[in-house]
Symmetry: D3
Subunit: 244 residues, 6 copies
């Protein structure tokens, strides 16, 4: 285990971590965290429409392109370790071995916090499945009887990053993170997603509007701290503090 | 405005702040906060059953006893300012003047955080009414056009302290505060409530069990920080942070 | 206070208690309860459309007709005491005096259980207002300092009877009551509502279908107890028991 | 009553209808609706911070400026009738007379649909109060006994327009409206709000992102209809149809 | 793909589509839709109690009877294609092959809308499992990488038809469909369910009462459109419109 | 089938039934019920941290210790039959055979009521999985076509016993059971859990505080029945009654 602080992002498909958590990743990398990202699949079947429209493309080619995009984005964000599980998508399915492989990563990383998708997503059942498994593997990683002798997991927060169409997903942010200092990195990572140019503006708009929410909740017209770009997250577990 | 940090607790009845937020008050007093407590009523009609069972007691006598208890408890907790609005209870009702009086207190205190009851309480409609007014007066205190020239309020968090029978109230804590260092003060304040001795054990049990939750969420069997007494709170508004 | 068992139904408008709780009233009357019904208004403005379509009718005439219907229905159901508050409707509003008048009834009746409308009703704000006041006055009736010397109220269950369009109201029954033995009385009371003949079939259909739910939950295809007519209710408070 | 189709928007403060429903208003004006907007207040105390920062400004001056902005915005949107109730804000309060005045407007307009704020808003209790009154007055307008002889209201849908920080308000859109054809009008109306220039970009971003949701729900990558600007709304009541 | 409009109903057991969606099916057949119904099982183990009570009956015989009933009901309703997956029930389970088989049907039909069970059903876990799979297979059918070259699915609405005991299932209709013109067909289809004669009245009562809700929401006492039989549905996804 | 009354508790791990339902079990044993407890696993991997900290301990040894504890606790409580499924934990997984084995137990016991975990538990996915299977197997046990000829199950209530951190689990008790007469037995059973001494106080505190809730809901300051120890439960299904 590193003496540095660590964090772990679990992404159902290759690009999810960029749009939804790119700012948090880049910011914590700058803050000295080793941030590990697990991509459970490349999103090769379900989130690569533009590539598939090319004549004669094969599944392996799609996966290779998506992998390349993810790697370039990860580098732009300062990801410490990008782990591709290559489990397939639409649907994403994880058997016991795949779950234990994720437990191995969790235990190796010993994250200060974990991050994954919203609990509910009627548009994309892979997303909510990833979160279900995140909870399950967090629990297994805490078990003294799983691979006895390994360092067991503590009780890291599980943050749920922002889904598309938040209201349909029942996602409610309880924390806004100012990502202004690393916005350029997130934008650069976003631009690695060459097949989805229409989303570049979408997520730039979103980051600006979340900055408005940041300001509103840090004081509003009466001295709220400025922010130009922000991300929102929902916490699953309560916090423990010594001062409110 | 004081240069010290400040906080404001809004209590429907005289004793509520003791049972539900006594630890937070005492802890923040020790941390250097000036904590103001507003008691909207003494709970003289509805929460003084034991006193009323004495023959011939008058409403003024009940109020005087309750006031005395509240003052002694406030002193035990290190409350900076105990403000009694004396609005009557069962039901508690606030007209525009009473609301503006509360706005005056909020603006004078300029709290870093506010605290009140749960949003829902079918057993005690005074409680949820107090929270409704807390939200309304927080909004008015933010209005530049209310008493122009006064310093307007920023965007302090509103914490909801723990109600009786949490599950019936739909109250869900998202933060546990370790109050071990000030437990003796809270217990002393509790013991000022002479008419409700059966609740002394109840709230001691509760503080111990909330400490168990504190530990569980700070690491569990794998290094969770110890705590012997804790309190839980629910946040109404999202937080704004620079690090998760 | 009577040595007989007692119950109290709080109805926003004159006819509500018939459609929604007529079976429970008649059944408990047969079981030896003195059932008191409070009609906060006659529903004269908002629920008397058919009468208003008659040329030249006055408000007093509408109220008199509605009162007559309610009295005949109450007699058919075996209501012990029908109390008309005549507070007006659309909107129903209750000041402190009106609330204390309701507290007086509650204390006089000392009901084993209370009953009122659903918590939410976007079609009819009078309905949810009545329930809000039912909770508030239940609380006041429990206060030792309200009219000291009177017998204070215990902790009767508050049942919410079935609203129109249950799903829109967020109403969920947790108890089904077999009203087969008193169906004829409920039907007779329903037929007292001469202006609303189209609803006679509606509520007969409903009672039959609720009997299906009764059977389904009492054993289904494997020995469920038969029922031909039933009513459903939602409980606000938890029960206390010595056997599950 | 006009033979043209009609709609009614109820806005707590003068600017709300612009940010939140400007597109729907302008679009329906173009579709031949007479759209009436009721501003219950000018937002003079609570939503005019920038004006109040000017030395020596009076309440009447603030109201006059806000009124002017609202009138210019209404003209840009093609509002048929802008009705200012001037009831005051922070807090907004409506007595029986004010409610009946709103009932008069509802009955006069006989709207095909109504529109107001979200049901919940812990930041701004005026907003949820306006919606509460919208439901109450819709009910009164349906009462045959209210001003007998007037044409009573049918059952128009009540749409809830988009609040700030949707997730905190528990607001969930079930309908997206393409406002691309009238975007220029909405933008022009937005620019009438001279004191809130920082929100111009916010609501432009939002309209673009809602257009993304429009496309996603009308076919996505497989032929979704294009839209560049959209607004979302939540329906309170069920629809009645002859074809799904 | 047909040039005609199409729709797809996914039914966990053979009879579900009759009770819950028979009106919608028959109406849309008359409107020119090709309506496909997929029965994932015959309900042979769990919903054929009456048949099993006959001495010596075998599983194959039960399935044959249920299949016959479903076919006769489908014919009465004008179903275009009745597809029996014969996957078994109590519990219904679908492996990847079964899911892909359903994806094949979805893609072949290219439905304008889909329909299945409520999201939650503690009485019958097969029901909610069918809806879970409906969402999952809808997603897969939208994936460009699933059987590349096939026409991918757009974004059809998923309607949830009415479960038994709606309130226990958390089902809330947001749309009522007038099925008066096809009631005779639905009743005829219902009567094909010979083993469940006690439910004939139940669903006739229900259709009549839903017609009352149809009327209430289309104008009430002030000109609501008449309807004698109706069905209710809950929408999962938001709609996209050009006029409210 | 016994002529005695019966009940069935389904526990994900060996100790769960002790902490959460020990009072209900002991009380009903005294009331003449044969109470069967199914432990789906021993909690050997995930809930035996203290044992695993001993050097060189093996999985079989952990299981044997946990089995011994569960047996001694069951004896203290008067459990009629303790059935250990030994399916493994963290994660608990049940294939079709395991489910049918549980159906066999349910049918053999023919319980008047069943009991299991809360519906939601983000800390411990085994818990909510057990409840999911409890609902599924209850359904299968009701199917006439499952092992035709066996006595099918009626419609027993499913109670959800109290989870750790109730508010995080969304668990809401609707029934409080007085366990004062059997508290000594529950405490003795608790003390069989030698590895978890820190929880002895926790669950004693909890039982005392639930007794406070029992009293509050049975009359409060106005004659509530006394109780010194209680347990709370949430009901899944509605009740059917002949008197409220």
């Amino acid at each position: 285990m590193s003496a540095r602080k660590t964090a772990l992002v679990i992404s159902a498909h290759a690009a999810d971590f960029v749009w939804r958590a790119g700012g948090a990743i880049a910011l914590h990398a700058e803050l000295g965290y080793d941030v590990t990202v697990v991509c459970l699949s490349f999103g090769e079947r379900g989130e690569s429409g533009k590539i598939w429209k090319r004549a004669g493309v094969t599944l392996d080619e799609v996966k290779a392109e998506r992998r390349g995009e993810a790697e370039r984005a990860a580098e732009a964000l300062g990801v410490h370790d990008l782990v591709s599980f290559d489990l397939g998508d639409y649907p994403l399915e994880m058997d016991r071995d795949a779950k234990f492989r994720l437990v191995d990563v969790i235990r190796k990383v010993q994250p200060a916090w974990m991050m994954s998708h919203s609990m509910w997503d009627p548009y994309n059942t892979d997303h909510m499945y990833a979160t279900k498994v995140a909870l399950e593997t967090r629990m297994i990683a805490q078990a003294w009887g799983h691979n006895p002798g390994e360092k067991v997991l503590g009780a890291p927060q599980l943050y749920l990053f922002e889904p598309h169409q938040t209201e349909q997903m029942g996602w409610k942010p309880d924390i806004f993170l100012d990502i202004t200092p690393v916005w350029d990195k997130k934008r650069k990572a976003i631009e690695c997603m060459e097949g989805q140019e229409h989303l570049w503006t979408y997520y730039t708009n979103l980051a600006q509007n979340r900055a408005n929410h940041f300001k509103r909740n840090s004081g509003g017209q009466s001295g709220g701290r400025d922010s130009r770009y922000a991300e929102g997250f929902q916490s699953v577990f309560p916090r423990t503090v010594d001062e409110l």
